[in-house]
Symmetry: C2
Subunit: 180 residues, 2 copies
Amino acid sequence: MSLPHALMVSLIEKSCSGYDLAQRFGKSIGFFWQASHQQIYRELAKMEEKGWVKSEADEESKTKKRIYEVLDAGRIELKRWASESVEPVTQREEFFVRLRAEAALGPLGLVDEMRHRIQIHEQKLALYRAIEQRDFLSKAHKNSMTRELKIQYQILRAGIVYEEGGLKWSKETYEILKQE
Amino acid sequence: MSLPHALMVSLIEKSCSGYDLAQRFGKSIGFFWQASHQQIYRELAKMEEKGWVKSEADEESKTKKRIYEVLDAGRIELKRWASESVEPVTQREEFFVRLRAEAALGPLGLVDEMRHRIQIHEQKLALYRAIEQRDFLSKAHKNSMTRELKIQYQILRAGIVYEEGGLKWSKETYEILKQE
DNA sequence: CCACCCATGTAACTAGTTACATGATTTC
DNA sequence: GAAATCATGTAACTAGTTACATGGGTGG
């Protein structure tokens, strides 16, 4: 994919350290992208070499924290990349392979797995709904939202739509697998 | 993920050559998994080394086609793997990074991209609906389906649910991006 | 002072992509 | 006889994961 560009978007929204990025990419941004700290540090170093970002030691903290900031060259690169047209790729879903295995070889315990997945979908959905309330529905009327805020809301909406679909499908599938 | 296991499931459904697998993994199975021929040949060689599959030259054809077949050791391994519980991973969706870039930096031409994505969702949905009619709805009553067929139908259903959600979301998002 | 979190990194490995290569067979 | 497709592979590269390492700061 393109982790460096994802990192730059995040840094434009707010400059921070590699460690902070790792936290973000395990949480909020991690809704649709996850990355380990090892990978983030490596990419940040490469990006600095290319002149897309610059870093400086954090004055305020006593630790060896380095704050990264996106430079103009980085913004230009990000614009170029985001405007590129890319065909949507089919997602690899390992679970479907398991399901096919269950179809071909007989029950393999995927019923329990389905029950677990239903729970996860419900949890995520509840979380997204809470964020929706907090950040997009209470704050202002939908009509008075800025374009930027509307787009940010759409990204959350994607998560909601995805989890709703996944939940519906998981429940259907659970009922079928139950009948061994 | 685990390409070897995906290949074995496919070979259990029907023994065939690496070339045939590459065709399948670019088409029907490619609904949820894609793989290049290079990767497939490499994996088949490894799997044969491990004793999961065996291959023999195709008698019928004059070419140097090799037909692969799953061995007992392969079936055992597949069962073991499919029963393993694995946490669902958040999918990386590059497009959301682009959207965030558009939110942060202003219009970058993603409206056209959205229009294109709506078309793709519609096409895929139409295709899945056609397969649904052909393989699952006309053939027999849903009640009289075997467990195996029901599971196979659920895999297609996943594609339908996903595309429906994606289409709905894309239309919403298109309307928002249109207002530059 | 011990455990835990902050903060950064290296090294080795695994999976996946892109580019290149080759020869045989079928189709026009 | 040329072009397309069948059928197999190698090599080099890129992205991502796992394991390991280190040292400082904070709270009990």
